[in-house]
């Protein structure tokens, strides 16, 4: 039972990270492999604010999110838009954006290594026990989970009920038709990409309160986020959240029952099963 809850708590933060990637891939059509580095950068910022000024990571996210939004907006405008314009087909854009974001990811790791060194970093924020249904858990995990749930809920509501949120969903479903109904697809793609980056960086700040990170930890998170997005279905918010919770539980089960070194292998097994049996995602409809 406590394994299930720890898994769900972990899955909640995964959901946030994967939602960020899903916005970038599902709406802006950029497979962003530098996503994990944005997460680590968010974590670094939270770490720095906490050790320098004892500022709670739950407050830091209000600084991390706008900065990450601006940064990602610039990245999209300067680096990725030329690729979108140059690409003749969707496949060409995919290859180019994969290579370019790989480049970005390595550059980001290189810069972070140069700036902060290769050490692991962690800090003890709310490292006190809390009792839920007879078992005890660390408060920081619970706090991160609650924050993630609130952000997911706000995002879900915004995408479903606000005008700008609906335009983003229209863009995700059909870029050509979105243009026909007067949506400025180019600027909205940039916004979606920037928003995705901000959500991921926020997730990073939350994750850093209970996981140990280092400069090159990003790629593992990118992989997990990718697996979650594909499991849940590209552009499907509900599917992403459920897939993230599922992955969190499966990982925790494998880590505590078999071996902590096999978490990625577990994630991959899930991934293979999805690819073989439901390549359209957990809730996707089979294309006719």
């Amino acid at each position: 039972m406590d394994i299930m809850i720890i898994g769900l708590l972990l899955g909640g933060t995964y959901a946030l990270i994967a939602l960020g990637l899903n916005l970038q891939y599902g709406v802006a059509r950029i497979m962003n492999l530098a996503n994990g580095e944005m997460l680590v950068a968010g974590g670094f910022t939270a770490f720095w604010f906490y050790t320098a000024g004892q500022i709670s990571p739950l407050l830091t996210i209000f600084i991390v999110a706008p900065v990450a939004f601006a940064l990602n907006w610039l990245i999209y405008r300067i680096m990725l838009e030329p690729l979108v314009k140059r690409a003749k087909t969707r496949g060409q854009l995919e290859v180019d954006s994969i290579l370019a974001t790989f480049g970005l990811s390595f550059v980001a790791v290189g810069l972070m290594l140069a700036a902060f060194g290769g050490d692991y970093f962690n800090y003890s924020f709310l490292a006190k026990p809390v009792t839920i249904m007879g078992d005890t858990y660390a408060q920081n995990r619970v706090a991160a989970f609650v924050a993630a749930v609130i952000i997911c809920a706000v995002l879900y509501g915004w995408l479903n009920w606000s005008r700008s949120g609906l335009s983003i969903r229209a863009l995700s479903v059909s870029p050509e038709s979105a243009r026909l109904v007067g949506i400025n697809t180019r600027s909205l793609s940039a916004v979606a990409f920037a928003l995705g980056g901000a959500v991921t960086a926020t997730g990073g700040a939350l994750v850093s309160s209970f996981l140990t990170l280092d400069a090159s930890a990003g790629i593992a998170f990118t992989l997990k986020a990718l697996i979650i997005v594909i499991m849940g279905g590209v552009g499907d918010i509900r599917g992403t959240i459920i897939a993230a919770l599922l992955l969190g539980v499966v990982e925790t089960l494998v880590a505590s029952l078999i071996d902590p070194g096999l978490t990625l292998a577990a994630a991959y097994t899930l991934f293979i099963l999805i690819l073989l049996f439901r390549p359209q995602g957990l809730f996707g409809r089979r294309p006719t």
Binding site: M31, I98, L104, L226, G261, L276
Partner: protein, 310 residues
Amino acid sequence: MTSLEIRNLALAAIALAVAACLPLYGSDYLKSMGITVAMFTVLATSWALFSGPTHYISLATAAFFGVGTYTTGLGFETLPFWSLIAIAGVLGAVLAALVGLATLRLSGVYFVIFTLGLAELVRQVITWTQNMSGQKGLYVLTDLTEDQLYLMLVGLAALVYLTGWLIGRSRLGFALRIIGDDETVAAHSGINTATAKVLLFMVSGSVAAMTGAILAPRYVYIEPALAFAPILSFQVVIMALLGGVHRLWGPIVGVIPFTLIWETISVSFPSQVTLFLGIAFLVIVYFIPNGFVGLIEKARDWARKREGFA
């Protein structure tokens, strides 16, 4: 055969002879660079055989390479060395077939993601089995010299070029080029696209595994973190793209300069290699999308046009 083909064949034969004689005249530095260049030539060329025409970016090289090194590591005491290379080739092909069957029916992104984590997946499983059996790394002590390993790599490279040339002339090669241009058209004209892609991916995986098997004695001591180092996959992708993947001789044009720069940087600024790798990716995407070969061809066309007007 046309005269152009005969000329190319002669050039290839001379290049091969020069490469094969390196142990006779080379200094120690040249020999050690030679083995690295030969290794990356084999890896990058076989990578381009698959990824060039299909545009599927495979990041699984490290996984296949690691499987090869482990084949040698586990079997060199009981079996002759040449048979280990063959076994590694078969294992690489089988692994590639499994990965290909699971992912190549789907879009390119799934394939990239899957191959990206494949090396890590195999590494975790091997580390776990080693922990269960209480064993750590493996010592690979053979009496093979560096020169012999180098010659084997050159032989393998010749084999790869021959295979690539034959594939390029075969129905399979033609089918792959159509798939790369437009997969829907390929499927409509009766090409079994999944089979064609899986077959080529098997060639590429098998060659990478054989390279790993040949190079295992050079490492002397192998452990999962070393044999499955993910950076190898990225190096291979960069070298191939830097050279140009639409010609068989393209990758080697990227391998030689990149190896030289890489060695210099990893000796003088070891902590900056990641940054360098990233910059190399960005330069390729933004400035030389068709590689050095693309630049050379562009310059040649430009020169011809000028002659035409003069």
